[in-house]
């Protein structure tokens, strides 16, 4: 399902890096290096990240709460704890979204669709993730020294807010493809890149087919958090299954975590990866046509315990950036 948007733009974004473990060369608006932020537990720390980014974005854009029509938020915690507990501090209509690490793209799609409505002028999309919170929820207790496989990714910590508006700016949201939940039966929850590659491939293929474009149309295809090995799997899978050969493809998770960081991890993960890399790196490298492919693995502790395979979903958002307009 591909939607075209006429009048939707990203105005600005506020990036916050909660903890810079293994992260190199990222210049976020705010870098805290603290998991707790003086809160009782780190789950509340993630709430504070979201509050800080929302306040930061409002301050950066000199906007007041009444200027924002809708807040859309997503995170990885149960019942979207971080999103809703952060949004209680703001007097703004609020929506929560969950599609794991594709939450940012889902948020952008919702925001863009809302903005087609004349009543809505400004929407803020916020996502956050927290390494300890997702380790505790999806894997083992934090202090438990379970050995990580080499294909395992490391959940990034922090939060990003983006202001989406219907007034013209230099970053245009041109179209988006809502992905289908894909499951080919793969079930290793440690190898998330392999879980998500089929859905990423399907969404890319469908987006290109429905817009009648070739892969060359895009200067860059940026996937969310497939990792070093996942991106290779995706490339070969695309070639074998859909006869698509794509060279200009990069992964935000790989760009977030440096290979020489000393620990054998396959890259970063979490809904934070994609927007953080987009706003701190990609938009500074003068790519004009960018396809963002957020990839989300939809497993839970229950699904692993009952030996179910892992479905995944990917949403694509196409951006057109005009660097002359400033």
């Amino acid at each position: 399902m591909t939607l075209n948007f006429k009048n939707v733009y990203i105005k600005n974004a506020y990036t916050l890096l909660g903890r810079n473990e293994y992260v190199e060369g990222i210049k976020a608006d705010e870098s805290l290096n603290d998991y707790y932020l003086d809160e009782k537990c780190f789950e509340m720390g993630e709430v504070d990240y979201q509050v800080k980014t929302l306040n930061g974005l409002l301050k950066k854009e000199k906007l007041k709460e009444k200027d924002i029509d809708v807040l859309i938020g997503g995170d990885l915690q149960n019942q979207l704890f971080a999103t809703y507990y952060a949004n209680r501090k703001f007097d703004i209509s609020s929506l929560g979204v969950y599609s794991a690490c594709a939450s940012f793209n889902e948020g952008l799609i919702f925001a863009s669709s809302l903005l087609e409505n004349q009543k809505v002028n400004n929407v803020i999309v916020t996502v956050s993730s927290h390494n300890l919170a997702s380790e505790k929820q999806f894997r083992f207790p934090i202090e438990y020294g379970a050995l990580k496989k080499k294909v395992c990714t490391f959940t990034s910590t922090g939060s990003v807010s983006a202001l989406v508006t219907n007034k013209k700016t230099n970053i245009k949201i041109e179209s988006s493809t809502i992905g289908k939940v894909t499951d080919i039966g793969y079930s290793d929850a440690n190898n998330m890149g392999a879980c998500m590659a089929p859905s990423a491939a399907k969404t890319i293929y469908e987006h290109l087919k429905e817009t009648n474009r070739t892969p060359d149309y895009y200067d860059l295809i940026l996937t969310g958090d497939l990792g070093i090995y996942g991106i290779k799997i995706l490339q070969e899978y695309l070639e074998k299954e859909y006869k698509l050969k794509i060279n200009e493809i990069k992964d935000a998770g790989v760009m977030l975590f440096n290979k020489e960081s000393g620990r054998s991890i396959a890259g970063g993960s979490g809904p934070l990866c994609l927007p953080l890399i987009l706003f701190t790196k990609i938009l500074k490298e003068k790519y004009k046509k960018i396809l963002l492919v957020g990839t989300g693995s939809l497993h839970s502790k229950l699904s692993t315990n009952i030996n179910e395979s892992i479905p995944s979903v990917s949403h694509a958002v196409s951006l057109e950036v005009n660097y002359d307009l400033h």
Binding site: P141, Y229, K240
Partner: protein, 144 residues
């Protein structure tokens, strides 16, 4: 693409652990713990004139306390990352799992947090330990 074909594709691109090396490291570290434990037992027997069964009991208590303290101070997971299963399989692993579960939920209070979560992962060890002990004792009785 069929699952089998996909798994092959994944295997081709994924980096794997060196199983033989890990096996050797685990054997080495597990063995070291075993030797130290045996020395501790001999020490208790010779110095404190404890009977063998009681000496083993004290060794167990020592290992659990030692594992828990190392977990609480945050060293255990770092040691495990190079000692591998050598530290997880002995009683130190039991203590480590128990303490890490309790630490995860410490903020939720002593009853709902620590109390109901401390045996979340190790509960199965206790339950099936008891069940198998019961049946083994029964078997012993029958044979005698």
């Amino acid at each position: 693409m069929k699952l089998k074909e996909y798994e092959k594709l994944v295997d081709k691109h994924s980096k794997k652990e060196n199983k033989l090396l890990n096996f050797f490291i685990s054997f080495l570290f597990g063995g070291i713990i075993g030797v130290l434990g045996e020395l501790f037992v001999v020490f208790l027997e010779k110095k404190f004139y404890l009977p063998l069964s009681e000496a083993y009991m004290y060794l167990m208590i020592f290992l659990v306390v030692f594992g828990s303290i190392l977990t609480g101070t945050g060293y255990f997971d770092k040691v495990v990352s190079f000692a591998k299963a050598g530290l997880i399989v002995p009683t130190t692993g039991f203590a480590h799992t128990m303490t890490s579960c309790a630490m995860d939920h410490a903020e939720e209070g002593p009853v709902k947090g620590i109390g109901s979560n401390i045996f979340k992962m190790t509960g199965c060890v206790i339950l099936y330990g008891l069940v198998s002990a019961f049946f083994l004792a029964l078997l012993k009785g029958v044979i005698k």
